[in-house]
């Protein structure tokens, strides 16, 4: 075990590989790129360190000079040796893998499950099969092996599952908070050495300090004077006195355990005690005290089984995950979504990692969104290797992002719906007749300047085409829009131009992708993303409907036309409002990246200058605009079934696609009624998904107009905030009390808060 770790683990900064520790399923903390590991909560460990170091420092500072001169200069040396030995044992105990048993790969778990016959079929994900035990004979003794639902293995004898670290540990002794780690097979000897050396150190310091005080007492007569002369020595004496009892007690106890080859766990349970009337003899003991001690303290040490610093290959990740295919989920979307009457241009999956995928959108061409395509084959959606939904999400660390742990990477790998093109064939006439609303998105993480350069021309071309399309319309808004367009400056951030006609495909894609995700049994953290509050009522107030085409256009333009950080925004706003007589408030700021994974509450500020700032304020306004468009569309196109345009606001088509955009989902939800979204999220039939989605607006007017009217902006905000809060990677809103072994061991969402709290408090970001 390498104590000198930090200087040795300089990775080449440019090549970033994912090591297995980053995908580790348990709750341990890792240091030095996987060299060291400890328990999740190490605060008491710091206290231990401070106590030992502080006391020793006081001893060295105040007692040693006196004693070295008066008695023997070897005293500080012995003290120093003891101190270093104690600290090194402590550090080794803390940072050594205690003997964590790696969790079963998916195949292994399935194989074991097959062998254990469960009479009732597992229809419900929360069904808890009876606790499984397996009886084995260990040296003639019957030992029950328990099945660990979290790790999906039958625990070896003497292994136990540590609830704090969420691991099964071999020869589990106990979880020691003072040491900040479990004590198991691999670090028991360090723990024992730590106890013994700490006992010696404490005794040594105590005796030396007492000697110091006694010697002082000979010169000084009064105790008060002695205390005043050497106050810190008195402190040291006190600390040592109180700690000696516990330390010596523990050391003695563990000496007994070592000689009889038991663990604290077994001793507490009385597994091998004679009290039970000769219940059982310890089958693991070698019968001899010396042999036991030798084996436990000096015996061979198994290497760490969890291979922390191994590189997490795709193969490894796929083995550990419950779904197998490393395909990008968009490929599922593409293949699954079916727009019956519109031709959908499907993007090449990002796996292709090609920036040359040219998609047509109503005549315009889109460049594939540029983002970190080195992760093309593994998507954030494919989630972590810690078993999807099984394990407690360890924030973003468990993401199977090839290259980074950054939060932004979560959305980086999302496929933007902008790739999905829908020809405007099915679009309603008023909208599709050349009005290719363009919505610009800013992708704040651009891949490279070269890409930006390459794409800029494309974007300019796109804009021009869009502008041309716009100009065909007779509204007088368009010149302004054109002006806006031409004034749009392209900076380093890539901008994806998306056509509103894609919205239809977008929504269907969202639905299908949600289904794909669900099918892929994503992690608990991502399951939260599924749990969008479909039943929540939309919060934007109904706006007076304006069925004039002009209003339609303007409303759509409002909804979909964003500028980033452009002073022209307000100008456009004013223009549009003036001309379109818009009841809805325009979005005040640009949806940069609607980052589901941030706790940042929506900021209702105007003109967010920083292009790279994640701005969520437009969500509120988007909702209103969306509602407005919905209402207008519903009024106008109730009869249309498959082609009612879902002019969703731009937030749905933001460049960093959040397919779990609650706005989208809630929009879909409100379209299909309260229960339907859930249903078709769980439905396996892709064929019917899209038509349902496309037909949702038809249902809106019939059933949910009331719902639409219900909400208030404030509800939207808090709702939205709550959804953001719920779905944040770091701070998922889990009801951990409802988690149990079974829930952890499968995809059950028992821990997810399913029903929306009635007036949700604003989340603490």
């Amino acid at each position: 075990m390498n104590l000198l770790c930090c200087c040795c683990c300089n990775m080449a900064p440019n090549t970033r590989v994912t090591r297995k520790w980053e995908l580790f399923a348990g709750r341990n903390k890792f240091y030095c790129d996987g060299l060291l590991m400890s328990a999740p909560h190490t605060s008491v460990f710091y206290l231990t360190c401070i106590l030992i170091t502080g006391t020793s420092a006081l001893f060295f500072a105040f007692d040693c000079p006196f004693l070295a001169t008066r008695i023997n200069p070897i005293i500080p040396i012995v003290g120093a040796v003891l101190y270093f030995f104690t600290m090194s044992s402590l550090l080794r105990t803390t940072f050594t893998d205690p003997g964590v048993i790696p969790r079963a790969s998916y195949d292994e778990a399935a194989y074991i499950e097959k062998q254990i016959e469960v009479p009732n079929s597992l229809n419900s994900p929360t069904y808890r099969p009876p606790p499984r035990t397996k009886e084995v004979l260990v040296k003639g003794q019957t030992v029950k092996l328990k099945y660990c639902f979290t790790c999906k293995i039958f625990r070896p004898p003497r292994a136990s599952h540590c609830s704090q670290c969420d691991n099964c540990v071999e020869r589990f002794d106990h979880h020691c908070p003072w040491v900040g780690n479990c004590v198991g097979k691999r670090n028991y000897r360090f723990f024992y050495l730590f106890l013994v050396s700490l006992a010696f150190l404490a005794v040594f310091i105590f005796s030396c300090s007492v000697t110091h005080l006694v010697l002082l007492m000979k010169t000084e007569t009064k105790v008060i004077e002695v205390i005043k002369t050497a106050p810190f020595t008195v402190i040291v004496v006190f600390i040592c006195f109180f700690s000696i009892w516990s330390v010596i007690g523990l050391a003695g106890f563990h000496t007994y355990l070592t000689t009889s080859d038991q663990t604290t766990n077994e001793d507490l349970k009385g597994s091998f005690s004679a009290k039970g009337g000769q219940r059982s003899v310890n089958p693991y003991s070698r019968g001899n005290i010396c042999l036991n001690c030798c084996h436990i303290l000096c015996g061979p040490m198994t290497p760490s089984l969890i291979d922390r610093r191994g590189i997490a290959t795709d193969e490894y990740i796929s083995q550990m995950q419950q779904h197998s295919s490393p395909r990008h989920p968009l490929s599922d979307v593409i293949s699954a979504t079916h727009v019956p009457s519109s031709a959908m241009i499907t993007a090449q999956p990002i796996v292709a990692a090609s920036s040359n995928n040219v998609l047509g959108i109503g005549g315009t061409d889109l460049k594939q969104r540029f983002y970190d395509e080195s992760n093309a084959s593994s998507s954030a959606l494919e989630t972590s290797a810690h078993g999807g939904g099984v394990y407690r999400p360890r924030s973003y660390d468990n993401l199977q992002n090839g290259n980074s742990n950054s939060l932004a990477h979560l959305v980086e790998n999302e496929i933007p719906l902008s790739h999905i093109d829908v020809t405007p064939a099915q679009h309603s006439q008023s909208l599709s007749s050349g009005l290719n609303q363009s919505r610009r998105f800013r992708h704040h993480k651009h891949k490279s300047q070269q890409h930006a350069t390459d794409s800029t021309d494309e974007y300019l071309q796109d804009i021009e085409l869009a502008d041309n399309a716009i100009t065909t319309s007779a509204t007088n808004i368009h010149p302004n829009i054109l002006t806006m367009t031409n004034n749009q400056t392209f900076d380093d951030d890539e901008v994806v131009v998306v056509d509103t006609t894609e919205v239809v495909a977008a929504v269907s894609a969202i639905a299908a992708t949600n289904k794909a995700r669900e099918r892929h049994h994503l992690s608990g953290s991502y399951n939260n993303l599924f749990h969008v509050d479909f039943d929540s009522s939309l919060s934007s107030p109904t706006t007076p409907t304006n069925t004039s085409p002009l209003a339609d256009l303007s409303a759509t333009a409002n909804a979909d036309f964003y500028k980033s950080s452009s002073p022209d925004t307000n100008l456009m706003t004013a223009t549009l409002m003036a001309s379109g007589n818009l009841p809805a408030k325009l979005p005040l700021s640009i949806s940069q990246t609607e980052n589901m994974y941030s706790n940042v509450p929506p900021v209702k500020t105007n003109n967010e200058e920083d292009a790279n700032l994640h701005v969520y304020s437009n969500l509120v306004d988007d909702r209103k605009a969306q509602q407005h468009t919905i209402n207008t569309k519903n009024q106008a196109n109730v009869s249309h079934s498959a082609n009612v345009p879902l002019d969703l606001p731009s937030t749905l088509l933001c460049d960093e696609l959040d397919l779990d955009d609650p706005m989208t989902a809630s929009f879909v939800a409100q379209g299909t009624g309260s229960k339907k979204p859930r249903k078709y999220l769980t439905r396996h039939n892709y064929n019917s998904n899209v038509p349902d989605v496309l037909q949702t607006p038809a249902n809106i007017s019939s059933t949910d107009t009331a719902k639409l009217n219900r909400s208030t902006p404030r509800d939207l905000t808090t709702n939205r905030l709550r959804i953001l809060h719920d779905t944040t990677m770091i701070d998922t809103d889990l009801d951990l009390d409802s988690l149990d072994d079974v829930s952890l061991a499968n995809n059950s969402r028992v821990c997810l808060i399913k029903s929306p709290p009635p007036p949700p408090p604003p989340p603490t970001a």
């Binding site: 390498n2 015996g299 197998s324 998609l359």
Partner: protein, 164 residues
């Protein structure tokens, strides 16, 4: 304008046969495929009759009945068990190694490997040779238990349609 129409979603089961798919990619075929060339996996469990030492059952599992001779399989597993027993044996040399490591604060292990690790290397070589000579010709692949946390010996049956 390039349009690629998807008229029907790619027919696939709603819940793909996960083990099959997992096995597909587990073989290292980086490309995803919906082909039916999955394979089954058989897991040889640990034998705890001698305590917590690493030892595997030597009984030939039923899934491998016709694929490999019983004696060949048993000899492989027995040899593996012997290797592990040697690794975990507490002999004088290992005790001395432990003591020296303790005294030097285990800095000595920066330079050399523990006895256990050396034995694991031998095991790895042995398994590779067994695979090459015996198992792969029969369409089997034995995976080193080190990669499975010393819990199981995984034997993959190649070219067999996977079952969930």
């Amino acid at each position: 304008m390039s349009v690629k129409t998807t008229s029907k979603p790619v027919p696939k089961k709603s819940l793909p046969p996960r083990s099959k798919m997992a096995q597909n990619t587990a073989t290292g075929t980086g490309t995803p495929s919906n082909l039916q060339t999955g394979f089954n996996k058989v897991f040889i469990q640990r034998d705890y009759s001698e305590g917590t030492a690493v030892k595997f059952h030597t009984r030939l599992p039923s899934e491998l009945e016709g694929l490999i001779e019983r004696h060949a399989f048993e000899s492989t597993i027995t040899r593996l068990n012997e290797f592990f027993a040697e690794a975990e044996k507490g002999s004088c040399s290992t005790y001395c190694e432990g003591c020296i490591g303790c005294i030097t604060a285990y800095l000595v292990y920066m330079c050399s490997e523990t006895h256990y690790e050396k034995t694991l290397r031998k095991i790895s070589k042995f398994i590779a040779s067994q695979n090459e000579r015996i198992y792969n010709p029969k369409g089997l692949q034995m995976i080193d238990p080190t990669y499975r946390g010393l819990r199981v010996i995984e034997i993959s049956i190649l070219d067999r349609p996977g079952r969930t």
